[in-house]
Amino acid sequence: MTPPWLSVRLLPANRMFFRVFGVFGSLLLAMTILYGLLIIPLQRDSLLKVLYSQATTVSRSIIQASSDAMLTDDFGFVVEHNLQVLQNNKSIQSVLIVPRRGSALSIATSGWEMLQTAAAPIKPADYDVESYGIVTSPEGNARYRYITPIRFSGVSWGVMQIDFDTSEYEANIDEMYRQIAYISLFTLLAILPIGYFFALWLTRPIATISQAASRVASGELDTHVKIDRNDEIGDLSHSFNQMVQALAENRRQLENVNLDLEIKVTERTQELDELNRTLDQRVRDEVSKRKEQEQLLIHQSRLAAMGEMIGAIAHQWRQPLNALSLVTQNMQMQYLTGQQTEESMRALQDKAQQLIQRMSQTIDEFRNFFKPSKHSETFNLAQAIQAAADILEGMFKNHNIELGMDCPSDIELYGIPGEFSQVILNLLGNARDAVLTANQPQPKIFIRASLGQNQVQIDVEDNGTGFDPNTMHKIFEPYFTTKEEGKGTGIGLYMSKTIVENNMHGNLEAISMANGACMRITLPIKTSPVTG
């Protein structure tokens, strides 16, 4: 069996570990380098300030000690003193004293010499200017040079130049670089273990949770994460465990539900199998029922049409019947009063014959109108509308309904004229009922036809009751009616919509108006058989 410590991998194979490790290390290294970059110039300035301070101190000391000798031209003492200074201060490389009068003295540890002032490197223009800084000789040797005016009681005596050895300065700089290098190296070395353990500490629990999540994702809902930490990661592992438990519970419940569903599906499948076995018979039964319903509808529609026709005939016959009644009354009156003559009898008989003829003609007209025509043909829209209007003319007059019509006479449509007329008749009949129900003092019905692009629009408007918004969506359903019982069959609009949309490939829609309703028929302009 593999010991537990062997299962711990030295380098965790997760990207987050390397990222954290890399970021941690880079950050530390960057901070170290940044520290170095910031501290080096400061330290360099600080060292230069130290050199400057040393230079000013040494120069003041020399000038103070040599002041009497300088003023009395005791250059021997000046040289001796400076040699002592050079011996005692190894950081001073040389001293150059240039008096305004006389020769310059160049003093170094190895010796001294007297120079002509003109040969001295300091020019008279620089006698009164203090200057300092690192200078490099043509041989490449660096030194710190400090030049200061020599004044006694405010009078310029000359100038002094002191060159300091920069080896200590350079050693300090080198030491600083070395220290920074050591720190960087130490940081690098420290990064490895510290960064390793830090990254491990940070990422191992996350990796554990991630691996556990993968196992959970693959279905191992018995996965449990053991991370004993009192922080967010500990909370996360706790929540993770709770989540997995909840998932397991849900899964169990789901399995139960699935089991139930499977049972139900099996049952339903059995039922469906049973249903499939009887489906053909059911379809045949449904089709048969449908046909019966359609026949019934057709029959009912026909009855309704018959009713309409009878009503219309009744209205058409009312006037000639009255006239015929008057004829017979006149015949009776002439007979009783003795005024009846053969001539008057013939006149009355002719009158009665005309009335009967008219009534007969009415019947013919109605019969022709309602004669079921099964053949599509091109017909004139205005004539078809007018024919329907004529049927109801008498009824409209009887109820003082004003029927207006605005229909271009040159619009030709293709279809079954009888069916279309039946649609118009149906819409006019509904409009009539609506205006009568509304008890309009001036009931009006207006038929307006207009020609659009490749279509014609026919509006049948009335100022009747309008549509009830609650039932408007149902008006085209069969057997739906808002009329009083016995007055409506609920078939008219259904049949009209069926004729317009199925047979004529148009559209029939109901539109509410401010004062009434509008039934709009939209038909394509076709003068030849419709395809498709």
Partner: protein, 311 residues
Amino acid sequence: MSRRFSILAPLRIAASLIVTLALLLPATQATSATSAAAEESIRLGFYSGARREWSRAEVRGTFDLWAQELARKFQIPVRIIHYDDTLEMRQDFLAGRIDGINADAITLVRQYKLDELAEGYATIMKGGWNLMLFTSKASGVQNLADLAGKRIVLLEEDQAGEMYLETLCLRHHQRPCREVFSDIQRVSTSNQALMRVFFGKADLAQVYGYGHDVAVEMNPQLGQSIRKLAEFPLRSLFLAFYSTRVDPTLRQRTIRIMPTLHTYPRGRQLLDIFKIDRLDVAYPAELQPVIELEREYQRLLSQFERKERRR
């Protein structure tokens, strides 16, 4: 103004101490024949000179420390006895309380007989101890007869130099220097003395050979601006000698070992501090030129004093 110190005083002490140590070290390698050494340690007299300055104390301390270190190396205790009074040191020497002495050549010549002294060591300097009298080429001095009225620079506390210059003055001008020169200045180093000549503050300077070499090495311009007028040969100004009572075997060991002091790192370090080149064997007979100079000086001085009395 900074303090000016005589280079001769510490040099004398240093040289004396070193030669004292030179006497001491071989003794540590053999059983001393003297009673003092047999009892506890080698005891050496050391004349510090008349002046008492801090630098002298520092030199003493340094030498005591080095004496201990070097003695420890040779595993025998050493005791250095410092004297400010040459007569006291002389009495201890005669009484056998010290086994050896060191002092400047004048002191040795004036207070010790040559037959009382056995061989010892001398401090050898690069450039030598010869006394030299230099003049500026611009001073117009061509020879020793031209010294009258000139300004001269001498070294402080330089008995040998003073005696030599007085001898020259008495010899060539029949009067002491104070009456020959218009101005006699004293400085602490040969370099200072020669620089005063170089910068025109004096016409002549009397320095030791090593001092001249150092000054010229420091500034060759200086060497080109001066001319040597006179020179007194002196092998070493500071010497150390055993008492003749010290076992000759021990003295022979000294002769073999001490010239190699500068080859020991610590010994070299010690010599370098005081810019001493090396130690070398010295014999009492080497004091003979100084003895003769002393005699001539005394003779000329007596002549001058007689003349003065007659006047």
